[in-house]
Subunit: 495 residues, 2 copies
Amino acid sequence: MSAFTKLQQQFKRLSRIQHAAAICGWDQAAMMPEGGNNARGEALAELSVISHQLLTAPELDDWFEEAHEEITDALDIANLATMKRAWQHATLLPQDLVEATSIANSRCEHAWRQQRKNNDWQGYNTNLKEVVRLAREQAGYFAEHAGLNRYDALMDIYEPGMSSHKVDNLFGEIKTWLPGLIDEAEEIQKTRQVITPQGPFPTEQQRQLGLNIMGLLGFDFQHGRLDTSTHPFCGGVPEDVRITTRYDEQNFMSALLGVIHETGHARYEQNLPRTLAGLPVGQARSMGVHESQSLFFEMQLARSLPFTRLIAPRIAEAFQRQQDPAFSADNLYQLNTRVKRGFIRVDADEVTYPAHVILRYEIERELIEGGIDTEHIPDLWNEKMESLLGLSTAGKNDIGCMQDIHWAGGAFGYFPSYTLGAMYAAQLFNAAQQHLPGLEEKIGNGDLGGLFEWLNKAIWSKASTLSTDELMRQATGEALNSHYFKQHLQQRYLA
Amino acid sequence: MSAFTKLQQQFKRLSRIQHAAAICGWDQAAMMPEGGNNARGEALAELSVISHQLLTAPELDDWFEEAHEEITDALDIANLATMKRAWQHATLLPQDLVEATSIANSRCEHAWRQQRKNNDWQGYNTNLKEVVRLAREQAGYFAEHAGLNRYDALMDIYEPGMSSHKVDNLFGEIKTWLPGLIDEAEEIQKTRQVITPQGPFPTEQQRQLGLNIMGLLGFDFQHGRLDTSTHPFCGGVPEDVRITTRYDEQNFMSALLGVIHETGHARYEQNLPRTLAGLPVGQARSMGVHESQSLFFEMQLARSLPFTRLIAPRIAEAFQRQQDPAFSADNLYQLNTRVKRGFIRVDADEVTYPAHVILRYEIERELIEGGIDTEHIPDLWNEKMESLLGLSTAGKNDIGCMQDIHWAGGAFGYFPSYTLGAMYAAQLFNAAQQHLPGLEEKIGNGDLGGLFEWLNKAIWSKASTLSTDELMRQATGEALNSHYFKQHLQQRYLA
Ligand SMILES: [Zn+2]
Ligand SMILES: [Zn+2]
């Protein structure tokens, strides 16, 4: 058996262990009674030890050495490269650093849950300092190996091939027009009347509506489920994708848009090529590209006027409100495109969202590069919120720099993915419009097959066989360009 | 670290992998969409490979060698013995035999699902022959190692310490009075009027009733759940027990008694000592003892008149049938103690059930010992059904020897556990009556705490720290004695 084949078998074994971990993780969030948590935590930790052992088995050194002499085909080369990347991430770090990081991150994240409620920046900072110190050390190993600076090396984990130089250009460009666009959009919307639908909207009716719209969006129920969890996510495995939402009986729209968002993630997973199943090259390209699919569904499609017109009757029917003016397509559209600056990222609309991401990016980059220390975060946060959104977080760290779990858990370099995803989504939707004449009309008629076929061909079926730049070039004719995102916001919010 | 400690750590690692397998197995039966089945099968197979590797790691030889020099305490000795037993079961068989068996059993079981429907004995027999051949070969390895005959060596997997000599005595005794008792019971019941409750009984109401009765029976919802699956079972892990049932909208009693049965299994699991968690000595004593707990709940408790009086109002309320005479305690009691000889084991009442088990035991013992071959099964089955229940299965193998999954899947030696469980349960209930004066009245009042406390002390908390004989002796004053089972049937069915 060739070394290349042995490597593929090893990675398929690994993916089967990760299958078990994914299902147990989903169960923990969606099904498990509280008392099962300790035993589950131990089981998941054991699976991750086994995974680590499979990924760092000593024989892999030789296999990687030999394998690249054995292959010439482009797909094989991409396949080998993605396996090698995963292997290097697992082997580059000294074991004691991995353990110290895991302990520090857990401690910080655990304490943060309470500290955030108490607006206890001092307490949080004590732990965060150590998290940052270890993240810098880890980043140092990755950076040295890859010839990148530290922050870029971390961002590369989530968004391979992206650099802070490119992000600076993209986000810098956004900063030149975003605050003005927010002002203008708020001004325009001031005079518009929006009726808030009045609940209660029973959970079971919301769930049925969610399933109905998932069906419309092509979710494959032979290979997935919808369930409930405190924090919505898309989990499971490509053969069996588990999405979750949570229900608010006063506001059905939040769960519905959440379901649509996760359905975007799910369709990407469900349509990854089965021929590459279990291999890193068969996985989604990056966090940003993954988010581009969920945002394509949620922002480009679901909040558009044609799609709102398509589903408004289904929504009204689900709650028996066919006569209620709050359920008219026009009102629902106004509701779903409302711009309102606020403190909390996860509650932000698509117009103000990039501001939240840009400020986090600018701070975490400096933090990892060593330009600032954790002490500087609250003031910088306040300053940037003032400048981007005109809001002050002075003394309000709970709704400022302590609101996210990411840093508490040691995830630096992830935040840009959200806005990169929004930009990819806008650029992809624009390309889809070029390729599919009469797209808006088709959407309004519920004729979505062509659009999904195009997405499947352009993105889903490609998995990680192409670099993100090449993926975007083949799909849209050019690498990521923030112009399409700006155009999208202008057309939707300044019209 | 001592070898004994290293062994315990290894078995705890193993139990964590088995935790993942248990949850993934539960999910497969209760949650998974069909399309996920192939990937799930591969993931579960991988977990079982990992388990086998942990259990057969070469260093265990030395550890077992050294460990028994290190310990003197009775619990440690039991602990080591149960680990050693599991290790030997995993290491005694040559790997190629394990693989051949797994393939033959899967093939036979898979084909059986259709062959049974077609009453295709010839087709089934072709595969079954090979399953039996391999089971004999496996049994040979176990038998040689343990100094037992082949059938006893297989039965010992499920019911450690039990022998065909003991079973012959127990079952032989039952055969002397069972056919007469069945006749008599049917004669007595002939003149009794029983009203069948008329459905439909909506699934959700049945589920709520099940949850209600689970609560009454002390099921710990912080450490377990109730769900739905085609074949009801008790799965998960002691910290998080997953029981399932299935609902028939025309007959609520079948799901309800199923839930009560699985609750008996569940309480055993939930009350295994946490101090021994993850170790073989901390697991349930045997399949027979496990079944004794479910039958204690279902047969001894739930089908008794006092318990029926206790829950009849809850049942009537669940379906809003407070005025329906079919829902009176007396009628429900008649319904749940109806004796009716039939072809199908899983549909049998507690009086005719042992006949189904005894005939299977007698056939499978000869099959494994080589006294008969698979060709002889249909005639023997027919003959024994005639003699025990007066029913002929000539030409009706689908409702005769092809009805069970056990042999198709290579599980020989399991059947006795069902009736051993019924006998343990009767003997335990009798002992509980001696220890707890006024037990019947307490049950009628819903005052079940003392009974569960007694079961916990006698059985649940003991896990596998005692042999089954010793467990029964400490709980009831004597080893298993079929007298109590006979007495129970006489009191309930001939009164
Ligand atoms: Zn997302
Ligand atoms: Zn049972």
